[in-house]
Amino acid sequence: MNLMRASDVMGLPVVSIQSGEDVAEVRDVVYDGEAHRLVGFTLNKRGYFAGRMKSVLGDDSVAAIGPDAVMIESESAIDDKAVAPAPLTELDSARPVLGNRVLSEDGTDLGEVVAVILSTGDRPEAVGYELRSPTHDGTSFVPITAQMALSGENLVVPVEATQFIRGDLAGFGAAVASYRSDELEKQR
């Protein structure tokens, strides 16, 4: 599974597969901190006189997120009637996630959320959080789980999720994939 920090999606061109045109660029990521879900993107115009676009790109209208561009099937994927929800960098809406302390159910402080991690490809979604370690320099990555409890300042994760914490993004991609297949096993 290929992963990206949500903040690295900002500034990427939004390109139509049908026309090969760059119709917009990502201004900000819209994220629902309570549901731990990627909602979509707010957009800027492309070019020298770039300004904010009223249009919004919902996550279900995205054909794929890649390291170099966000792809849409055609320009009609951009919804110019929708009201843009509050994006990630607007602190009030981001507060449910960024800056939260993450604790495991056994009371261990795992660190503070510094970034939302998205899976790339044709079904982009939020899969984890990057945490700044409370004890040493550097960060780690914890998978998003259905059982995460959120209070507005703390996020509590089940103990079994902690074994999938990784220190690097590439390793975390593999960890998320195996965590998800474990979860599927349990549901059977």
Partner: protein, 152 residues
């Protein structure tokens, strides 16, 4: 079917059959938005004054010359799409290549086309060749291509 590349044919003389006059040289191509078919050949002039010959009017795209019935088949660019192409805003060679997954895949170096039909056969990038069947579009930002089948 005879295949040539854009670079091979660059500068080739364009001749009117009725007068035997040279009416221009191959300077570039106007492609359809899908990036798979040559619509017209840029034969003379620049920008708004550029003139083109529609592919459909050609009698032959020969090894030594491109033949059109008459000088009257040469026309000044007549729409925005053609103007963008002759100005180099939308062009195959030099275009950025982007996969449908949003990953950069180099730049277009050259393209092979069928001299009978004007259909693009393969696009040559600095990252390898791409069959025309994988090309989704050619726009001012990029040539968008499907991913290659997974290697088994």
């Amino acid at each position: 079917m005879s295949i040539e590349t854009f670079k091979q044919v660059d500068g080739r003389t364009v001749i009117a059959s009725d007068s035997a006059d040279t009416i221009g040289h191959v300077k570039g191509f106007v492609l359809d938005a899908a990036g798979r078919q040559i619509e017209a050949i840029h034969v003379d002039g620049r920008g708004k004054n550029a003139s083109v010959v529609d592919w459909a009017t050609l009698t032959a795209f020969g090894q030594d010359a491109v033949m059109v019935p008459s000088e009257s088949d040469r026309a000044t660019v007549h729409d925005g799409h053609q103007t963008e192409a002759v100005k180099g805003k939308v062009g195959m060679v030099g275009s950025r290549v982007l996969t449908v997954e949003g990953r950069s895949a180099g730049k277009v170096v050259d393209a092979e086309f069928d001299t009978e039909t004007g259909a693009i056969v393969r696009v040559i990038t600095d990252n390898g060749a791409v069959d025309a069947g994988r090309v989704r579009s050619l726009g001012s930002y990029a040539l968008v291509v499907e991913l290659e089948e997974a290697h088994s």
